[in-house]
Amino acid sequence: MEMRKIRDSVHEIKKEGAMRVPARLYANDSVRSLIEESALIQGMNVATMPGIQRHSIMLPDTHYGYGFPIGGVAAFFEEEGGVISPGGIGYDQNCGVRMITTTLTADEVKPKLRELVDALFKNVPSGVGSESDKVRAKDSEIDDVARLGAKWAIEHGYGEKEDLSRTEENGCMENTDPSKVSDKAKKRGRPQLGTLGSGNHFLEIQKVSDIFEEKTAKKFGITGKDQVIIMLHCGSRGYGYQICDDYISRFNSAMPKWKIELPDRELVCAPLGSDEANDFVGALNCGINYAFCNRQVMTHWIRETMMSVFRKEREELGLDLIYDVCHNVAKFEEHEVDGERRVLCVHRKGATRAMPAGRKEIPKLYRKEGQPVLIPGDMGSASYVMVGTESASETFFSTAHGAGRLSSRTHALKTIRGEDVQKKLEARGQIVRATSFKVIAEEAPGVYKNIDDVIASTESAGISRKVARMTPMGVTKG
């Protein structure tokens, strides 16, 4: 492996062997030293795939995944034999983040923090059997959820139209085909609508610690330090996981006919335009929509909970959405490559779209500023709101999605006690409410990279700019 620094925080691994393009790592020197060689090799493996454009990309939160590294981006062009790959998206299709602003300050929330965390833990179901009888989605309606995404939620009273314009893709991917989603996926998904799941999914109450770009922050709804903001992180539950699994199996069986050679079985893919690829796109868009709908339903319950705990009306509390971003997705987007505008299938697995001012994909409301980018850190540190930049064109307008894991869950369970983590955080005034101490251990601060370093890397590489920083006050985890 030959890696050279191109400029501050950008490194390139030269083409070698079967690589069709180089691989690029976006990370400052401090973060770069933490990146596992195995993740870099995965980035190089992705670079061997047919039709890949420019370079295979690894962002500063990159870490070892299965097949594709997590924290990676790969764009493919159909006319050059480009492919689509379920593993390049992840099992949790449209795992993503949304943030809701409030008019409250940390001082106003502190006296009611425990009550709020307990109420959110109760009203937004998480953990196992994370099933909700609160959402009235009948068996027959799961296909409507798949076709309409967040629109379905709005139509059924969970939120308002304005929320859609503040969601990536307006909360609804077109080109859905529920007939390409298996019964198994539907059976898993229907009762789980409106639930958080577990692991690294969470609901967090945060306060603003820093504002870096005041005008942009204000436009996004961030008005000042100590303002309380709520962050939600979750995806498509069993519905999306099953779709991914189904198509990995289907593509596995179909692969021999295309004679595509891959260094890793989990890079299994189908040529864009093939029946298999088209069916997957139809199903994937259903998975993406399920997650949009899920986050919208939960947004409604968060609003209700806030109004009930603080005994104030919606108008007094604000509770507007800043934005909702996907970080496990594949989308058809127009990008410039070699002086030509091409429609590419951009895979983001643990990566966030970060479009600059002027792009039609971002809501009119934010078109002058650029797209809000929401990046959560681990439960002990900080989260960021950033904005997309012009110079991110080299990463197909993508940036990091989180801090990126450093150590495995197995290692975390051996070395960390969830009870100790919880006590330490509580000593700092942070409340953690989880369904098990083990999940706290697996998600403990030490197992992730330093989020401030990861964010600094994206800024020094020019792929996104800091707008505001938040620190956690309370979190609920499945």
């Binding site: 596992e36 993740a39 870490h63 070892y64 995944g65 299965y66 097949g67 997590i70 992840g90 099992y91 949790d92 953990g127 196992v128 059997g129 994370s130 198994k184 059976k187 898993r188 009762p191 789980q192 799941g197 577990s198 692991g199 069993g238 996981y241 099953q242 991914c244 699994d245 990995i248 199996s249 596995n252 890793d264 079985r265 989990e266 894991r405 450093l406 150590s407 495995s408 869950r409 197995t410 290692h411 369970l413 369904t435 098990s436 083990k438 999940v439 697996e442 499945g478």
Partner: protein, 138 residues
């Protein structure tokens, strides 16, 4: 003989190895390992029974499909399985899985398993001991 153990080979997910004196026993222990990732509880009764029939000439795919089916049954019916008997003949797997319905007062949940991945999945026989490696997405 250890039935199964956690492996530290996957940063973002959970990995385990399962063992058996026969291939079938290895499959049974892999199933036990799967549920140990999700639950801490030792005493799970065998009140509920579900049958699984699968077919594939490739043992790795068969293992993936078997564990995936158990995961699907857990996700849809909330049964935590604890005991298994597996028979494999010419690529055809028949199994009975026994367990009980999830009860939050009794069963200590750890983490959701989203899917059984194929990553680094392998089955091999070394000196009369069958071993498989499985990485699950969490």
């Amino acid at each position: 003989m250890k039935k199964f153990e956690a492996l530290d080979i996957a940063t973002a997910d959970m990995a385990f190895a399962a063992y058996g004196k026969t291939k079938e026993e290895m499959f049974e222990n892999a199933a036990k390992a799967l549920f140990s990732v999700m639950f801490e509880t030792k005493e799970i009764s065998a009140k509920e029974k579900r049958g699984i029939i699968l077919e594939h000439e490739d043992d790795v795919i068969l293992l993936h499909d078997f564990l995936s089916e158990l995961l699907y049954l857990f996700d849809t019916e909330h049964i935590i399985f604890t005991k298994f008997n597996v028979k494999i003949n010419n690529g055809k797997l028949t199994s009975e899985a026994f367990g009980e319905k999830y009860d939050e007062k009794k069963h200590k949940f750890i983490i959701d398993v989203k899917a059984i991945t194929y990553h680094k999945m392998e089955i091999k026989k070394e000196k009369n001991l069958w071993k498989c490696v499985v990485i699950v997405d969490t």
